[in-house]
């Protein structure tokens, strides 16, 4: 397990010392995270990294996972998609079932924290428990809330407004609600298997294993197989480029245990890609972090052509590796990329194809974009900044003024 001191080389001694100072001010409070899955997906991944470091800082912090059957996760996935503005049918019976499962969990979970830190919509209705037990409640929304389905948002809003504080990943996700709303971007861990340095030999072996030619340009999108990541649009952009430049496309991703839609999308992508030997559709297990790291490091250009995005951590991951990134201007992606300085923001398949060609033909410019991108991520999107924001968030529940002297 990575120790906090190992981040000193990357983030600097001051940054780590400041974390110790802030953590000492949180002393005496217990924080309890609650989400819907312990493995797979961005939330579980970031909690797995942050929790041990907060514990090492002396913060008393735990993690509970709600229980639900397949029906619950199908419904919660539909709610998730509706909040991303996708058209899905959700019946009143579905919503009632969703509430029943939350109610059952509310009865079974031991709410031991002084601060109950609930992640994403699946367990959001646990807040009803507050009437009985009090405590400070924070709802952390990890998804794109820029244009949620009105009916589902209205349903969820009645629960969200009961929290003390709501946390979003981008300014555009802010809602017209009475609850205080805080902006905290997620982060990447530079020492995790997904982001740490790798030897050239290992990177070569991963590409060789999948039969991908390192001599030809490689365009890669890493994301789970989900319509909102627009893998079909990526293939179409690649085909526009392929008319002029001989290149390869890698679509690689895993699935989370709370994502039953993945198989359907993977099938559609495989069908769209068939007969093109230069398209590599790689369905990876949720634990394939080191392979993903190698795929990013060995690629020429990284894409993130999402239609909706909570934050798009894969963009930060690629920029940290100083890779040129072309990504959609959705969700938290514009926070990570300043167009033409630290990456490229696009809105269409054609625009994506245009910029792929530009960057393949101008490798010096592509290199500069990657270097700027890495610098931006170092200052704003590493796990050490994320831990600091969470410590400030916990403190903000107890310090009410705009300027706080600690």
């Amino acid at each position: 397990m990575t120790k906090l001191d190992e981040y000193r080389k990357i983030a600097g001694d001051n940054v780590i010392d400041e974390l110790h100072f802030l953590a000492s001010r949180v002393s005496g409070k217990t924080i309890q995270n609650i989400n819907s899955t312990a493995v797979g997906g961005g939330v579980a991944e970031i909690l797995s990294r942050i929790m041990p470091l907060l514990k090492e800082l002396g913060v008393d912090i735990g993690w509970s996972v709600i229980k639900g059957d397949e029906k619950f996760f199908v419904i919660s996935k539909k709610i998730h998609n509706a909040l991303h503005s996708a058209r899905v049918e959700i019946t009143n019976d579905d919503l009632n079932y969703f509430l029943d499962v939350n109610q059952k969990n509310a009865e079974e979970i031991n709410f031991y924290g002084d601060i109950i830190f609930v992640h994403d919509p699946q367990p959001a209705a646990l807040i009803k428990k507050r009437e009985k037990i009090g405590k400070n409640w924070i709802w952390r929304c990890h998804i794109d809330f820029s244009n949620p389905n009105k009916r589902i948002w209205s349903f969820l809003k009645s629960y969200i407004e009961k929290y003390d504080t709501v946390v979003f990943s981008a300014p555009t996700f802010g809602r017209n609600i009475s609850t205080k709303q805080i902006l905290i971007s997620p982060s990447i861990d530079p020492l995790s298997e997904k982001n740490r340095d790798l030897s050239a030999k290992f990177i070569d072996s991963v590409f060789e294993g999948y039969g991908i030619d390192r001599e030809k340009p490689i365009i890669t999108q890493i994301s789970r197989f989900d319509y909102l990541k627009d893998p079909i649009g990526v293939i179409r952009a690649y085909r526009l480029v392929k008319k002029h430049i001989d290149c390869q496309l890698v679509l690689a991703g895993g699935g989370a245990t709370d994502d039953p839609e993945g198989k359907k999308v993977l099938k559609a992508v495989t069908e769209e890609a068939k007969e093109d030997k230069d398209i590599f559709v790689l369905h990876l297990s949720p634990a394939s972090h080191i392979e993903i790291n190698a795929l990013q490091r060995g690629s020429t250009i990284i894409l993130q052509k999402s239609l909706r995005e909570g934050f798009g951590l894969t963009v930060s991951e690629a920029l940290w590796k100083a890779k040129p990134v072309i990504a959609s201007a959705v969700g938290g992606i514009p926070l990570q990329i300043i167009h033409r300085y630290s990456g490229i923001l696009t809105h269409t398949i054609e625009g994506t194809a245009y910029w792929i060609k530009q960057l393949l033909n101008d490798p010096e410019y592509a290199k500069k974009l990657g270097e700027n991108g890495r610098e931006h991520i170092k200052d704003n999107f590493l796990i050490t900044r994320h831990i600091r924001d969470y410590l400030l968030l916990f403190l903000s529940l107890y310090y009410k003024k705009d300027i706080v002297y600690l």
Binding site: N14, V15, P171, G174, N372, D379, K401, D402
Partner: protein
């Protein structure tokens, strides 16, 4: 014997306010009513987040007016406002209000931004904490300046002057107490908004080296 200089640093927790605007008139109405911490946030965020890219602190209002509304003249006017000339957030706010009022009084039709590109007002809660450095004389001060974080430098130069109402930056105030009036005056005369944070650090150190 003057007091030693205690270094501090600061961090912001960013708040999303329940307020957004789709044209210049709504931006003006927002600027009139948002808390001081919001005006501060939108005029200083760029300095901290993108300090390595550009020295110019394109304030968020100017950036949105130019890049989203494509009102380049007004954007330039708002962007070139000299923040260093304003002693407090209150007066800086009035500076923006004056320019925007002149624009809206001209009666030109207001451009409306595309849906999804509204200006979102934010604010910040600032936590100030001690940095592990104390300078007892100028030599020590110079050496510590080389190793403090960018957040610490930012706090003593920007936050202290305009947000905490100290009129001048912390360094110049201490240097005057130390009897180093010339160095203090040179640092006060700098327009820190036209440097990157690293550039500013180097400039202050070079002033101390030159004058000492």
């Amino acid at each position: 014997m003057s007091e030693p200089f205690y270094f501090y640093t600061q961090f912001n927790l960013v708040e999303i306010l329940n307020k957004k605007s789709k044209n210049v008139m709504e931006l003006l109405e927002g600027i009139k009513v948002v808390p001081d911490s919001s005006i501060f946030y939108h005029t200083h965020k760029f300095l901290e987040q993108h300090h390595y890219l550009l020295p110019e602190p394109a304030n968020d209002f100017a950036y949105w007016i130019s890049d989203v509304l494509e009102e380049n003249t007004l954007g330039e006017e708002i962007g070139s406002i000299d923040i260093i000339d304003f002693p407090s957030i209150k007066e800086l706010r009035n500076g923006f209000i004056k320019i925007l009022k002149e624009r809206t009084n001209k009666g030109k039709p207001a451009r409306i931004c595309p849906e999804g590109s509204e200006f979102h007002f934010m604010a910040c809660k600032t936590f100030i904490l001690p940095a592990p450095y104390v300078a007892h004389d100028l030599e020590e001060f110079k050496e510590i300046l080389k190793k403090i974080t960018k957040s610490s430098l930012y706090f003593h130069i920007f936050e202290a002057r305009i947000r905490l109402g100290k009129v001048d930056n912390d360094f110049s105030r201490w240097l005057r107490d130390l009897g180093k009036d010339k160095i203090a005056a040179e640092i006060s005369r700098l327009d820190p908004y036209t440097y990157t944070l690293e550039g500013l650090r180097e400039k202050i150190i070079s002033i101390i080296c030159k004058e000492n």
